[in-house]
Structure formats: structure tokens, C-alpha cells
């Protein structure tokens, strides 16, 4: 498993909900949106389970619609519960991301750090 996989844990659901909130979207298009948003190479084997999970939990709902070119598409919409959940996760994210980013900046020049214990 890659580092990236681990970093995405838990936050991918919120990313998907954030995109669905902006506009109703179907799975295949979603992976392209994620790519544009700066999260490339999220495979459909990842995305569809996320969508199913979100729907099962009542955070999104779906609606089949025909396509001009190709098989039917399942469009997803954010529910009210989904909006609440998204807000909750977004808050938690900020709470975690901020201190982590600070820690990982590591004071720019680490050669300086020679503590008593070293």
C-alpha cells in the first residue's frame, strides 16, 4: 500500500461529497473531476465503493439518467444529512491538517537542531 493511499483514508469521502455538492455528477465523471481538483489516479475501484458507502449512509442519493453516448449514468446528489456530514468532516480535517502541516515543515533547517539528548 502506498503512502498516498493512507493519506487519502477518510478524507476521500468528503472530497467526493464536496464535488457532488457543487453539481450532480456520475461516477465516471467524478474521477475526472478529482483529477482536475489535484487528486489524480483515483481509480473506479476506489470511487464506486465510496459512492455506494455514501449512499448506504444516506449522505447522497442517486438517479439513473440516459446518456447520449454510452450506457446509462447514475447521477448523485447530496442529501441534507450529507451536507451536515461534509461540514463535520471539513471541520475535523482543518483541525488535523493544520498541526500536521506545521510539524512536517520541520523548521526549514534541521541541521541546527542539536539538543542535549542527541
Amino acid at each position: 500500500m502506498t503512502i498516498r493511499s493512507q493519506l487519502l483514508k477518510g478524507i476521500l469521502d468528503a472530497c467526493v461529497m464536496a464535488i457532488v455538492e457543487e453539481q450532480a455528477i456520475y461516477g465516471y465523471e467524478l474521477s475526472q473531476k478529482l483529477q482536475k481538483a489535484g487528486l489524480p489516479d483515483i481509480s473506479d475501484g476506489t470511487i464506486y465503493p465510496v459512492l455506494l458507502r455514501l449512499q448506504k449512509n444516506g449522505f447522497i442519493r442517486s438517479e439513473m439518467r440516459p446518456s447520449d453516448s454510452g450506457p446509462n449514468r447514475k447521477y448523485y446528489f447530496l442529501t441534507d444529512n450529507g451536507t451536515e456530514e461534509l461540514e463535520r468532516i471539513a471541520k475535523e480535517w482543518m483541525l488535523i491538517a493544520s498541526p500536521v502541516s506545521n510539524l512536517l515543515k520541520r523548521g526549514e533547517n534541521n541541521a541546527k537542531h542539536k539538543t542535549i539528548n542527541q
Copy 2:
């Protein structure tokens, strides 16, 4: 499992390494450092497995030292491999954290977003 648990996945190792890089430290003290850094309530059931994993992978090494009050302490140091790994994870973190934060900002006012599909 909480949202927070998921968000911490994969990044906790790097946080621990970042702290160990600053100064040699033992497990018990580490949880207090994490607290101060803005990551409270990381239990020892989480921290010690992290330390064991990092050591097994050669990213940190340890050294027993007597304590003035209580049992001996196992101090941890970052290895050269650890420094490299930390840098790798830090880069990946920035790559993920930035687009995620953007997505989760959700354009401040979402009431406006009424697309054709809604």
C-alpha cells in the same frame, strides 16, 4: 471508528518522525509532545505500535536510558533512512493536503450553486 482516526492514517508516522527528528524522545513523552503540537488524545495503544513499526522499518533506532523517577526509558532517534522517509511523506502530504483543503472550503456560499442538473 471515528473520522479522526481515519484522517490520522498514514500521517501519524511522519508526525512522530518529525518530533523525533527535533529531539531524542521516549514514548511516554511523545504523546505529550503530540498534544502540544495540536494532536491531542493519541493513546499509548497507538503510539507504541507506531514506534515499533518505525523501528522495524529502520526509520528510527532506540537506546535505553535510566530515569530519575520510574522505569527505564527507551529513547528514539531518527536514522538517515528515517530522514529520507520523512521527507518523502512530507512531500506527499503537501501534494494531498493542498487540493483537499481547497475542495473542503467549498466556495464559502453554497446556496448559490444551482446547476442545471439540480
